[in-house]
Symmetry: C2
Subunit: 469 residues, 2 copies
Amino acid sequence: MLDTLQPLCSRLDPKSVSFDAGEIAPHIQDWRAQYRGSSPVLFKPSTLDEVREIVRFCNTHAIAILPQSGNTGLVGGSTPQGEVLLSLKRMNQVRDVDPDNDSLTVEAGCILESVQERAREAGRLFPLSLGAQGSAMIGGLISTNAGGVHVLRYGMMRDLVLGLEAVLPDGRVISDLSGLRKNNTGYDLKQLFIGAEGTLGVITAATLKLFPRPVSTAVAIAAVHSPRDAVSLLSLMKSATGGSVAAFELMSERALSFAIEHVPGLRQPVETPSPWYVLIEITSGEAERAPVLMESALETAFERELVQDAAISQSQAQAESFWLLRESIPEGEKAHGKAAKHDVSVPVSRMPDFMEEATQKAEALIDGAMIVAFGHVGDGNVHFNLARKAPGAEADFLTAAKPASALIYDLVDKYGGSISAEHGIGVLKQDELAARKPVQVSVMRQIKAALDPHSIMNPRILLGPERGS
Amino acid sequence: MLDTLQPLCSRLDPKSVSFDAGEIAPHIQDWRAQYRGSSPVLFKPSTLDEVREIVRFCNTHAIAILPQSGNTGLVGGSTPQGEVLLSLKRMNQVRDVDPDNDSLTVEAGCILESVQERAREAGRLFPLSLGAQGSAMIGGLISTNAGGVHVLRYGMMRDLVLGLEAVLPDGRVISDLSGLRKNNTGYDLKQLFIGAEGTLGVITAATLKLFPRPVSTAVAIAAVHSPRDAVSLLSLMKSATGGSVAAFELMSERALSFAIEHVPGLRQPVETPSPWYVLIEITSGEAERAPVLMESALETAFERELVQDAAISQSQAQAESFWLLRESIPEGEKAHGKAAKHDVSVPVSRMPDFMEEATQKAEALIDGAMIVAFGHVGDGNVHFNLARKAPGAEADFLTAAKPASALIYDLVDKYGGSISAEHGIGVLKQDELAARKPVQVSVMRQIKAALDPHSIMNPRILLGPERGS
């Protein structure tokens, strides 16, 4: 392989190629150390032309490429197994900020937090917000159609992309970075690359939507009886606040207690013990409006007995401490021990029935296990994880829990849901996807074959090799 | 052809096939009578299975299909030239209304107005709103990614589709009608069909997003000096109202005077004569809030001299009369005489420069012609039409105006815009698209060839036959 790559390497800027094992090391395993792999070379181009040269060369020689940006994925999609690594980290320029068009154009290697910061400097909001925002880069966030905590109000990454620049496997470039809101000129090709997990080409830059910054924000944590009441509360909050709900996160008592038990400095947010809590964020473009809306909506919710207790943040610091509770759940969960994780979605209206049936059946199936549920219930997305009640051997538990995953995915199908709400397919869920969506997968394969006939772009990821019949 | 079709026709329900010239007549010309064509047969299936049977048969025999719903397009995309007609008008069931999921599932032949009505009955809003809503059907609105007057707040049709049911050229069905907000399981295949103008398959049903109904609405017409001031005013209104601007329509004095002159019952909305006007709609989820927001924002705009005069609606009837002014412009324009029409978009921030340069150059180029501009400036979309100043022979004028179209499209390119903001390509703009976006068109052709190898789906539309090199 290295001999074959030699002509390419000698043509590139020396800064754009590395064979250094120390430099390559962090790129060949994921941040949770669940996947480890290898790569003969790390390409780190800094220009579109270099990306084109690398991709064209690999296409000619049928060499598989794994494109990588922040390497913060959860499904094994960015760990190479012998593919050449194409890191976008040096393509990290902000090309344009256009507040009057509410848009900004950045390269794929820009870190999410820095993009949020550039939007802030322009007096605007870039609303994508998630745990990994200090490392996750725009290219990967688009390739995985990232979600996060503000989807309810602003949508997924797909909804935030106005245009893309992408290199196709044969080196052609699709570029549409002018920030148009309306453009009906045939197939919206950028949509294909969003969520394609790098299997159709390399995203090199994107024009993203900006929004007015909220002027006032209120965060509350409320105790509710059940997921059903949470869904009713969401509906009430949406209409009572005129659509100002920016986030609505459900947490089971178990999920919250893992966080409080294992993460220092956290404490119970409301006095009334409750099996379920929701974190609600209201934002408004008017000064001092959000707390008023929050209080009046929660008052109605108390009257209708949808809420048993609630704490509304009285300061920015308190608002952040409420968010910290929600964001510490994965860490608390990890400290408790490994769990069988399921990032699933169902229609919001069917969420309560799904959760009830799935919890009861999964806990009945697996001895000594319990469901830990939390997530973006406003989007119909719940992280529905099976953890052991008492300490024990982790590997044994994960093996024992396997039948519960099949059961949970079957119930997701029954309720018209998705086996991957926001984390994607990667290598982790390929078999499930192929088994549950055969028509879709066959159409995806036709599209991939048309645009990437030598299958050089992330060939093991998402679709993987064709299954035997 | 009829002999070939015979086995298919005899298998279908007799109600699903027609050879009656009288019944076929309205389907073979467009509503503006700009395009006339022919078809040997009208298929009008009422079930998914019938659609599959027709499509599969045509695929086997390489017979071209033109799918049609409301036939209200503006670019010749729904007039057959010998293709078999596949009308979706009998597939008009509302399959499901789910207010708790803010979604509704309807078949392709449902008329937009009836969908709005069903949403209203469920206490929700389906926000797509456009002139042809009494005839336009969901299938066509999705296939052309329809826009309209509320794109600024709610997005294009693409943003309103949660899932599709579509028949592929080989008869396979892609179906995803469960109304999920989040579903990261590979390529988002529905995106391919949205805006594809029927070239990849037949859309048979869709799950659409619903929204809370606004509780208060205020409409104003304001006199402004220039498109530049209009763009600044939009920015001010957006931030001063906390993102509550639902519509923001620019009208030149000429455009408005055509409406007032030719449509009975209309009158000047504000006393101060002005070269430009904007129609602003503010909506709020809170009672009586919209007029308050409108007044306070316009007050700031007066202080900053962005607005010279304004009238705020004092009743629902007055709000409707303001909208009627805007909506009567195409009728007034038509009464004035044929015009060379351009439905274009540029980034909102570049709209003022584009309009200034394009107006000056087009009017200098074509003797006796003037630009009539109006449209959805909040989305960067302007209907930028060239009309004659004085009466004269229409055909001569349209011929004489041709160089202006090339000039306008060249300037659209210069400003990073689109030659079709919302009307699509159809047959009207194929040559322009092929010339201006060769890479995109070649990628579209690859995708079409992969999914429709016999090119049976609307083969003349959008892409058309391959151009010689």
